[in-house]
């Protein structure tokens, strides 16, 4: 596996697009918290603040706030993953890697390395964001209470990346894969959730990205509207884990069986 990681590093270390995506991803995970703080904390009247109780950036609420905010922006890492995978198909280097001596499963493992790495990067960045914004904007002392929200966030990012991997393996063309993926996360799944919830009930909340959203309600809005789902947390966690397994299995199945 170390050899695979070294080879993946050689592929990206001089690839400018990769570094632009990483910088954008990090920026997109930190910057919105400044804006959210300005809108929901700084500019909110003192009376309203009292009614709402604890500030969103006070511990322990800051864990949920950062996880919820970042769950909207970390899709950039999925777009990076789609670019990395579909580059291989465009340049036909996926074939060459096999011809030169990789097993087909090595190729999948090389991309799963990016899935895990990008998910960990999102998790670590969010952790840093919690510490930064919790100490700058928060008035309560550090607390690990509610840190579970970052674990939910990590799982949601993992599902999103696995879905991106599957889409790029199936579609192979960068532009089309990105459009389809963006379409799915931006509105296709929302439509599906609405339709399934209407005709089949709460099970609609178990669709891949929605299951994560149900675990990561936005703190302040949560007080006004009931956002979190009717199922127990473990049901959503099990659904997320099942999606990761399903998507990875489909990727392996595709890569191991088809002509390249």
């Amino acid at each position: 596996m170390l050899q695979i990681i070294k080879i993946e590093w050689l592929k990206v270390k001089n690839y400018r697009t990769f570094w632009v995506f990483i910088a954008l991803g990090l920026l997109a995970m930190l910057a919105p918290n400044f804006i959210i703080h300005d809108i929901f904390v700084k500019n909110i009247p003192q009376e309203a603040q009292k009614l709402l109780g604890q500030s969103m950036y006070d511990y322990p609420l800051v864990w949920q706030t950062v996880a919820s905010v970042n769950s909207y922006t970390s899709g950039i890492f999925s777009l990076l993953l789609i670019t990395l995978v579909s580059n291989e198909f465009n340049y036909r280097t996926h074939r060459q890697n096999i011809i030169d001596g990789w097993d087909r499963k090595d190729f999948v493992l090389s991309k799963l390395f990016w899935v895990v790495s990008l998910a960990l990067l999102a998790l670590i960045t969010s952790l840093v964001a919690v510490i930064i914004f919790g100490s700058i904007y928060g008035k309560s002392p550090f607390s690990m209470e509610n840190s579970r929200f970052l674990c939910y966030y990590f799982l949601q990012v993992l599902v999103s990346l696995c879905l991106a991997l599957l889409v790029s393996m199936l579609i192979k063309r960068t532009g089309l894969a990105i459009i389809l993926f963006l379409g799915y996360i931006m509105f296709i799944e929302q439509i599906l959730v609405s339709v399934v919830k209407r005709f089949f009930g709460d099970v609609g909340g178990l669709l891949p990205l929605q299951a994560g959203d149900e675990l990561l309600p936005f703190p302040m809005v949560e007080k006004l509207v009931k956002f979190s789902g009717p199922y127990d947390t473990t049901v959503y966690l099990a659904a997320l884990a099942a999606y990761v397994i399903l998507f990875v299995w489909l990727v392996f199945r595709r890569m191991l069986r088809t002509d390249l």
């Binding site: 050689l10 001089n14 580059n87 036909r92 060459q96 890697n97 096999i98 030169d100 002509d259």
Partner: protein, 297 residues
Amino acid sequence: MSTILSLNNISKRYSSVQALDGVSFDIPAGSVFGILGPNGSGKTTLLGIVTDVLKADAGTFTVMDETPSAAQRRKIGTLLETPNFYHYLSAYKNLQIVANIKQQSEADIPRVLELAGLTARQHSAFKTYSLGMKQRLAIASAMLGNPEVLILDEPANGLDPVGIAEVRTLIRQLAQAGKTIIMASHLLDEVEKVCTHVAILRKGKLLGSGPVNAVLSRDNFIEIGSADTQALAQLIRKHPAFAQVLPGQEGILQVTFTQAIDPAALNNWCAQQGLWLSHLQMSRKSLETAFLELTNN
């Protein structure tokens, strides 16, 4: 002589096209083995199966008498179809990736770049290369780690005449060094100059395989001509060693005999029969003629 690659009843179908149909042959170690066939005959499909980028519908093959594996592919230098590299990386950095996949030392990269004549441009991005340079880089990549077996699919593709001659010389040098070279090509001139063995494919079927002269029979023939071609054609059939008249150009007969014929004796025999030859030349059937005869039948 041991066997490098042994194919057993390999078949592959693309929807309505039977790309390979029960192909079986062996490639002996140390041979320069040409896989010949017209476009669409299944050459690249066959090599794709051997390198695991395509899956056979039926059949098996062994590499160096073992079940094929990634570890074996690392010991084989392969150029399959087009050169495939990361466009944004330089030649050197692309070869670093190949060296790491092959688990070979990066110290060999300067040697293969020099061999391919790319040392001066080794730090230029692949996307800035001409077609010929891309092909040279693919050959350099196949040579990394000095493998004992090379698979070269149309190695002269995109090269200028100097490049083609260089590749031919390189293949000869490798063959002399005892390497096994498996080469798919439709350039019969190339094959004639370098191959020791061939397999001929047509529409996915194997027409024959083995040493070049055994598969593509190229008997000596004699070209004869006279003022009266029709009379000569009738006369030559009466020669005691006559075998057949080959299709040839107008006014000239290409004749094969059942035994070696001395041109002077033939000239003398014709004169004794009252016909004077105006043209007499010993010739050998070209590989192209032999190939076309085989693939058109």
